[in-house]
Amino acid sequence: MSGPGVFRAAVWVVQRDLRLATRRPAQVLQPLAFFAVVTLLFPLGYTPELAKLRAIAPGVLWVAALLASMLALESLFREDADDGTLEQFVVSGQPLTILLLAKTATHWLLTGLPLTLMAPLVGGALGVPFAALGGILSSLVLGTISLSLIGAVGAGLTLASRRGGVLLSLLTLPLAVPVLIFGARATELAIAGDSLTAPLYLLGAVAVLGLTLAPLAAAAAVRIGLE
């Protein structure tokens, strides 16, 4: 068939979503602010002592990152479904899996990556030593990729439902348990100054599995949701 190749189409999707994001910066910034506020609550609610905060820092960082990326998922497909863009994807003749993968990648660029880049700041506030930041950054990069992919499936599935929000979290959070466990473990090891190769490999494995299967499931879900 004539027309642009898959790669071109995917690049267009990425460009379009990035441009939309620059027009509506609040949508991108809100999850980041949420991430910062949630982590701020722990010193206030628990203790300002850095030594104690350091002990719970892995859990706090990962749970906050998980919740922040949940929050950003709502907007992943919903608006494009409402204004018919997703339908155009389906009838465009391009493989829907690739287009959705491009959308998910953009979503990660706009939430997962900034969350990761914010982690040193937030982690520093929780008493995480400077030497651990490299390990934390690499675990968050791999972990947020998986979170975006799992979230894309959940966002696709809730397209057909009347109310998204809470249901989306109920669907997605249990599936994200392995990412949370491996990620928090990697962060813990990084703070302790140990080698974090094992959990990083596992995070990488989950991300690769997600990259392979999640777009297929998301495409199936979006097709059902659009009928």
């Binding site: 439902s161 669907l171 599936l175 348990v177 392995p178 466990i181 199936a220």
Partner: protein
């Protein structure tokens, strides 16, 4: 090969009648096995040398925990069949499975907690098996929540089927990650059951109970499936003929 027998399962009236015929064949053996196993487990089996009579809750706990996982597999298989062959009846099976599976998960969690109190001194420990079971309960709740939130039956069927398949891929990963998570946070738990070394008069009621529970699940599934088919086909003419 002749596939007629398989395609017949796509016909709601056929499955409705078949389920009605099969129900007693599951229900009666289930009742007999469960009653027999209860007698065997509560009366005949000797008390455990460490746990005394407290261990006897295993006769409800272990089979329900096992079924909770098995039902998820049945549900995902039915959902997959429904998705691939666009078989409405298979989706009805998956929908009927969810509630039963969730209840077995709750039963296994509650009996586990009741067992934990005398044995561990607390109702809840973050034991990997308990935690994985709790996550399984949330997977069931998510499946049912997604179904309930979509008005159109056919879309609810297929969306929840995709979720069930995603869950079944993820379930082993969750189980292993939880086990790995726990093994580094606390020492191995008190509960170490050497199953093969269990004496026969303790083991036999357990196996009988397992079979009994499975048959009971079969019977309940068939009854719920009939109800589900009736609900879905409520405007079909064959139901009027069937019921008059």
């Amino acid at each position: 090969m002749d596939w007629t027998w398989f395609h017949k399962f796509g016909s709601p009236p056929h499955v409705y009648r078949l389920a009605g015929l099969l129900t007693p064949w599951f229900a009666w053996p289930a009742a007999l096995l469960i009653l027999g196993a209860l007698y065997g487990g509560l009366v005949l089996a000797p008390p455990d040398y460490q746990q005394g009579d407290g261990f006897r809750i295993i006769y409800v706990h272990a089979p329900s925990a096992w079924l909770a996982v098995m039902i998820y597999a049945v549900m995902a298989t039915a959902a997959g069949v429904g998705l691939i062959w666009r078989m409405k009846v298979a989706h009805a099976v998956a929908a009927s499975c969810a509630g039963v599976g969730a209840w077995f998960t709750v039963v296994s969690l509650l009996t586990g907690m009741l067992w934990g109190k005398p044995m561990w001194g607390t109702y809840w420990v973050w034991d990997p098996r308990l935690t994985a079971q709790l996550i399984l309960l949330f997977l069931y709740l998510g499946f049912m929540g997604l179904r309930a939130s979509i008005d159109d039956v056919s879309r609810a069927d297929r969306a929840s089927a995709v979720l069930a398949l995603v869950g079944v891929v993820n379930l082993p990963i969750i189980r292993y990650s939880v086990e790995w998570w726990n093994s580094i946070h606390q020492a191995p738990s008190v509960m170490k059951m050497d199953r093969p070394s269990m004496p026969f008069d303790m083991l036999a009621p357990l196996l009988a109970m397992l079979l009994g529970f499975s048959l009971y699940f079969g019977a309940v599934l068939l009854i719920r499936l009939r109800a589900e088919i009736l609900r879905r086909e409520r405007n079909a003419s064959w139901i009027r003929e069937e019921l008059t």
